[in-house]
């Protein structure tokens, strides 16, 4: 177990810079998820921590030791790849034992460690099989087993669940989280799926275009996104945004008026702002604004309604059953305590 520090790290491929000075601190035993759209540099950052890409500028330290010029094998890390990267010509046992055999570990130690990892992951019946004889979820487990056997200081996961089907993904998500709770090894996990990030992480690092947009606990990001990008990225269904301006103590867009949050912060009268409200923070209210129903999507536990409001598309998630047909009006009101205001120009949070 160890801390990981990423200090003003830059990465350039030729003349193209893909990381523009990234700072991330990972505490000992923490589960940190790097999340962002594809091409945001999250995988590159992970590969730099692993030592598979060199560091153009800045430094990375693992356990207090700067590892910029340390070979991957000497960083004491284990990595799980998106395609599992199991050695196809070796059995599950040999795959898991590979790193130990390279260290010339005695047979009894290898047996014991592989046995223990297989026990943790429920892989005992498959030890003699080849990767091609396993299902996707089992392969994923072998890849994790290979990491566990090494008992590394840091686990690195590179989109490990993206090749699995939806149901298995949910199951493996819980499994990885449980594994982390059990082993308490510092973990850095890359994904583009914000639900994975929300459900598993101690700390989420939202990246976009080679920069860190925001870093914090999942609910902190959900409750107080620092800018429009994070607000739109975290949460499903995504936050609604309505463009307008502040006039006379309320938010106005076209002919509708919506209440401002109790503490509007830096928002000034007359300023063009983006009004953000999560679908689950809209409620039905006879005194609210009228929105035109476009599509209703009942899921049983809740109903998602896509509506048109002041020229914008707005999604609402309601516990109530919605009887309104498309074209009819629904009166909705936002919860003022849960409204987010963003600067229209810079996209930064105002309240």
């Amino acid at each position: 177990m160890a801390t990981v520090s990423v200090r003003s790290v830059r990465k350039a491929f030729g003349s193209v810079e893909v990381l523009h000075g990234v700072d991330v601190e990972v505490a000992d035993g923490e589960f940190v998820i790097l999340v962002g759209p594809s091409g945001c540099g999250k995988s590159t950052l992970l590969r730099m921590i692993a030592g598979l890409e060199n560091i153009t500028r800045g430094e990375i330290a693992i356990g207090g030791r700067v590892v910029n010029n340390v070979a991957p094998k000497e960083r004491d890390i284990a990595m799980v790849f998106q395609n599992y990267a199991l050695y196809p010509h070796m059995t599950v046992r040999d795959n898991m034992a590979f790193s130990l055999t390279l260290l010339n570990a005695p047979k009894s130690v290898i047996e014991e460690k592989v046995g223990r990892a297989a026990g943790i992951l429920g892989l005992e019946p498959y030890l003699a099989r080849y990767p091609r004889q396993l299902s996707g979820g089992q392969r994923q487990r072998v890849a994790m087993g290979r990491a566990i056997v090494r008992d590394p200081q840091v686990f690195l996961f590179d989109e490990p669940l993206s090749n699995l089907d939806a149901k298995l993904r949910v199951a493996m998500r819980a499994e990885i989280k449980e594994l982390h709770q059990r082993l308490k090894t510092t973990t850095i996990y890359v994904t583009h799926d914000q639900i994975e990030a929300m459900t598993m992480a101690d700390k989420i690092v939202v990246m976009n275009g080679g920069n860190v947009e925001q870093m914090g606990a999942p609910l902190e990001l959900y409750d107080r996104p620092r800018n429009l990008f994070v607000a739109g990225f975290i949460g499903s269904p995504a936050m609604n945004f309505i463009k307008g301006r502040i006039e006379g103590g309320v938010f106005r867009a076209g002919d509708i008026a919506l209440p401002l949050p109790s503490d509007p912060g830096q928002a000034r009268e007359g300023q063009p702002v983006v009004y953000g409200i999560r679908p689950e923070h809209l409620r039905l209210d006879g005194a609210g604004v009228a929105a035109t129903v476009h599509v209703t999507e009942p899921t049983g536990s809740e109903t998602q309604v896509i509506m048109h409001l002041a020229g914008s598309q707005v999604v609402g998630a309601f516990r109530e059953r919605i009887a309104e047909k498309p074209g009819q009006h629904l009166h909705i009101a936002p919860d003022p305590a849960l409204v987010h205001l963003f600067d229209e120009q810079t996209g930064t949070r105002l309240n």
Partner: protein, 311 residues
Amino acid sequence: MTEAAKPLSSINTRVDSEVQGGVTEAEGPQMMSWDSHTRRWVVVYIPLLIFLFVLLFPFYWMGVTTFKPDSELLDFKNNNPFWVANPTLANINKLIFETDYTHWLVTTMFVAVGSTFLSILASVLAAYAIQRLRFKGSDYVGLAIYAAYLVPPSILFIPLAQVVFEMGLYDTSFALILTYPTFLVPFCTWLLIGYFKSIPYELEECALIDGASRLQILRRITLPLAVPGLISAGIFAFTLSWNEFIYALAFISSTENKTVPVAILTELVSGDVYHWGALMAGALLGSLPVAIFYMFFVEYYVSSLTGAVKE
């Protein structure tokens, strides 16, 4: 190697689509049955048979001639040229007991195995370095190696003869073992570059993190996965060395050091007399090792030319 694989696979898919097309069209009510059965014969079986005939007839001729007594061999008026009336082992007997044929076979085998081994060793290291280490200018090195392949042996053997002489290797098997790689290494290197490319790079990255060195990765991950590629490179190198003619003719002078292709031509033709029976027997026996070699590895050979690593 994909260039070589393309025609093969395109023929396959064409055959498949024709066969499938025939079946579905036969099921369609408006199609006449002519379209399925006859067409399949015309576009698939008959061309295949012609192809087979062209390929196999020389072997048949070799075989038939080997067992013909001289009387039948030289008199086509009174004998069927395509058949043997009174088979004899005299030609084979003459070949094996009256010439150094067994010795030639051993020499050829030694040369072929030696040069194949050397070439594969050099090619593996070269291909791995070019494909995986991606050092500066690796692309150009790859091209340069290929350019060496384009120099025809009929030009290269003159300067090479000088080298062979200077090194005191003239008229030894080593003259051939060391010169054959000039054309084997480029081909094998390119074949292996293509094969290494098909092995997911993530496997090597994973091994790198697992603590393997470059050589360990090559030995324990890449090479085991590249076995089909190694085998087809090996078969190719072996066949080329086994059949090589110009260098063997130029660098070897004594009868006992000759390789089979050169020896049967220079030792079994005396003046303008062709010992056809023994010649054909020599050719037939000489092609057997290669045929046996292919027989064992044909599946690897095909899979390496057409497919990649399967997990």
